[in-house]
Subunit: 192 residues, 2 copies
DNA sequence: AAAATAGTTGACTGATCGTTCTTAAATAAT
DNA sequence: ATTATTTAAGAACGATCAGTCAACTATTTT
């Protein structure tokens, strides 16, 4: 490589992801990306390919970065751990400073749906990650006696995925924290 | 009015709504609307105003037309009624012939978020409609003894709203009916 | 020091976007 | 029958879109 790049690929990819996350794929123009990364159009194309390819890399980055589920692996009583997870989710989803962007994958699933297979593959994979995180959490809880043995952990995990997505949608329909807390409160009742 | 309109405003508005519903606001071009309604661009502008105004009218039409909650007012055991509601929702959300469009308001909330106040007002209003439908249903169930007196009906209603939205998102991440059914099954447990 | 290589840059492409305008056509009022 | 009024329709508007390319610059290799 003769002349070195003047920007950090990872940083720029994160900045691009931020824009797609906030505005969605269609509303994001190349010009937006240029302005928010400070990188020339041509360099973006040389480095990341076209808009669609760049977006796919942002989806991959999001999947690899989302550490919200780390909370589920922390120590503590299972019910309290789950409550902490929801609390943080609600905090984040409603936080104006964070841009109330929601979940990039959920946003993308809603915007692009089943249009492009290279996208739906990634949406599906992430959704599966989420389910698996909940599944593992619930299995641990069950082994610890915090969840009845007869409970169907797969069902419960999918239920939690649904609640998770539901809360992100709710956060786009209201700024009333109580609404999301009420929903999460009821959802917590499964931990018996 | 001298020369009469050659098209039915209501039919055309429904056709436009269909397109916005399927493709979202940003991905829908005036040309798309022209092709799916058979109405000239100029006539669309004369009749409905610009793209944004037309879209708002589609949101209003959607709100006034969504009769899915009629199921909740039907006769029968409360738990069975709720199950029927979820069954139909899942049927619709996954039905290819229906276009797997999801819920126009949820789609719009995710796409437009809190960008435009004239839109978020409508999103909020519809979301409140949904909550109220569930609330009334749950109150009837409680009076009928199908729901414990001590249950917080407002909380439960908001929980159901969250599940409803969650299922619509889930339907965009997978075609596996079992995933949605599992989530709905767990949600049904609140009816005790 | 010269050549080869790779990244940066500004200008530009054709296509499509939402929107408007002028002209023609159809009906109602006179 | 003529005029007034409203709608329809084709063409065009400037703006913006995603994407490209040749000229230029900085670094590595020879």
């Amino acid at each position: 490589m003769a002349r070195p790049r003047e920007f950090d690929q990872e940083i720029v990819l994160n900045q691009a992801m931020e824009v797609f996350w906030r505005k969605g794929y269609e509303r994001t123009s190349i010009q937006d990306l240029v302005e928010h990364t400070g990188v020339h159009r041509g360099s973006l194309y040389d480095t990341f390919g076209d808009k669609n390819q760049l977006f796919l890399q942002c989806l991959d980055l999001f999947r690899s970065k989302d550490r919200a589920f780390g909370i589920l692996e922390e120590e503590g009583e299972s019910k309290e751990v789950l409550r902490r997870y929801f609390d943080r989710l609600i905090d984040y989803a409603l936080n104006d400073d964070a841009g109330r962007k929601g979940c990039l994958i959920a946003n993308t699933a809603m915007e692009m749906g089943a249009i492009d297979s290279s996208i739906s593959v990634r949406v599906e994979a992430f959704s599966m990650d989420v389910e698996t995180s909940f599944y593992k959490f619930l299995m641990r809880a069950q082994q610890r006696g915090a969840l009845k043995k007869k409970k169907n952990v797969r069902e419960l995990a999918r239920f939690l995925v649904s609640i998770r997505y539901g809360l992100y949608v709710l956060a786009k329909t209201t700024t009333d924290r109580k609404v999301l807390e009420d929903a999460a409160n009821v959802a917590m009742l499964i931990m018996v």
